[in-house]
Amino acid sequence: MALLELDGVRAGYGQTRVLHGVSMSVGDGDVVALLGANGAGKTTTLRAITGGVRWDGIINFGGRSLRRATTEAIVRMGIAHVPEGRGVLTELTVEENLRLGAYLRRDGGGVAKDYDRVFGYFPILRERRKLSASTLSGGEQQMLALARALLMRPKLLLLDEPSLGLAPLVVRSIFEIIRAVNESDRVAVLLVEQNARIALELSSRAYVLEVGRVAVEGESATLKNQESVRRSYLGY
């Protein structure tokens, strides 16, 4: 059974409907890419999963319906969502942001180990931990958001455009860390990306959204090489 399942999910803002029946699934430990043009509904799909937008249809996580669950409750079930714009709390310090990642955890020893681990991934965060998060560069903020999400020890990681606005080298290193975390912890990842090339490299499966519907789905390796798919949906 899949870890996350969406079936016929429709959602929107006020009168404007954005999703017109999205069905997809993410298996335990899978990396799944969610691709598509601007406005196709990628971000809205993630927001529906964590209860940030009203939706109809079926969303199940670990076999449980998310129908009536609040955002806080969904997060407590094991979903870490790094939203568009990263959701870094810029009024707080780097360290306080990280402490909030471990807010729900009661295993002090495990948390200490995870701090060492994320500081291993992102040494710059250890250096800057006493500074206000607002002083970080875009890439560093993305690292902070990812580190904070890892401290939550999620079963599923939702990443919304982690490459947005970052230098190619930084994007590379962030994606390598996502891959490392996925391999060592079996954390499932649902990755929303504009940068289809790098997303298809990292993921095993991919869905392409077009105007609120899944237009194409399949193995990432297959999609990557399909000339027609590349040209019409992925733009490279």
Binding site: R76, P83, L100
Partner: protein, 317 residues
């Protein structure tokens, strides 16, 4: 019209010819000290205003009335024979719970309403609490007991009253406790996160709505301290806090309305400034001191709208 804290401080005679420079200095120190005492009271109420401003993007116009009501509870407890030092923490605890209840029952249903709705709701709350206090306790001004003696003690030649020192000590302890809670505890951290960025906080599993309620509880508790501290200086009656809240507004605006530390610094500056103005500026005794507070509010809004510690435009929609 009743006097306020600063106005009832010892009033100097303007007979400078009989004094040496030493006495002038002592008098100045004395006025500064009693200004700090009033400042501690304003700081507590200003901190309450800031805590709620951060939680809902709006000051709570009922803050002063909530403090007044809590002070009546303390008055009742003490009147029934309870020791002052038991009644004080007990009242603070009741005020804390009361603040949470008010947020859950009155504010939460209109949480997402336009700002104007919230303004009306808190104004209505102020009127309601004021009326309830009048109904239960009457409008007769009452003498509130003070645990501190009216005797003075010599500090660097200035005669400091135990009353002023006691107020400074109690406000100081309460303010430090609130700061430790906000800055050093996990729940304080979650409260700050929830106030600054509710969306991102929810995604971290923080129960934002409860954190906002906790903010109301904390504000109500700190406000209660200001009421209990000011009551022995003024007289206790339902309109007691209506001048104090103006000074607290001035303090909060001066500190940048979003900054708890700014509110405390603002409170002390307002307390000392108003007291010194009342002493040394001819014509600014008694009621005109309130004008000094308004002057501070207007000056800050015109010259430095973000206040002393404000980080960005004090606007949130």
């Amino acid at each position: 019209m009743r006097d306020d804290a600063a106005a009832r401080a010892p009033r100097p005679q303007r007979r400078k010819d009989h004094r040496g420079p030493g006495t002038l200095m002592q008098e100045f120190l004395q006025q500064v000290l009693s200004g700090i005492a009033s400042g501690g009271i304003y700081a507590s109420l200003a901190l309450a205003l800031v805590l709620i401003y951060n939680a809902m993007g709006l000051v709570n116009f009922a803050q002063g009335e909530m403090a007044m009501f809590a002070t009546f509870l303390a008055f009742t407890l003490i009147g029934r024979g309870m020791d002052y030092w038991i009644a004080l923490p007990l009242t603070i605890a009741i005020a804390f719970v009361g603040g949470i209840v008010i947020q859950r029952v009155v504010i939460r249903p209109v949480e997402r309403a336009p700002v104007l709705t919230l303004v009306i709701v808190t104004l209505g709350l102020a009127t309601l609490i004021n009326g309830l206090a009048g109904f239960f306790f009457g409008y007769l001004p009452r003498l509130f007991p003070s645990p501190f003696s009216v005797q003075t003690i010599d500090i660097f030649g200035a005669a400091a009253s135990w009353q002023d020192l006691g107020v400074i000590a109690v406000s100081g302890v309460v303010l430090v406790l609130v700061f430790l809670m906000l800055q050093r505890t996990t729940v304080g951290l979650a409260m700050r996160a929830a106030a600054h960025n509710p969306e991102a906080s929810r995604l971290l599993g923080i129960r934002v709505s409860w954190m906002l309620a906790l903010g109301w509880g904390l504000a109500s508790a700190v406000g209660a301290v200001s009421g209990i501290m000011v009551a022995p200086i003024l007289y206790l009656e339902p309109n007691m806090m209506q001048t104090v809240i103006i000074y607290a507004f001035a303090a909060a605006v001066l500190g940048g309305i979003e900054s708890p530390l700014g509110a405390v610094i603002g409170g002390l500056i307002v307390g000392v400034t108003v007291n010194l103005a009342g002493t040394y500026l001819p014509g600014v005794g008694g009621d005109l001191q309130l004008a000094v507070a308004f002057a501070i509010i207007i000056a800050v809004l015109v010259l430095k709208p973000n206040g002393l510690i404000g980080r960005r435009a004090a606007r949130r929609v």
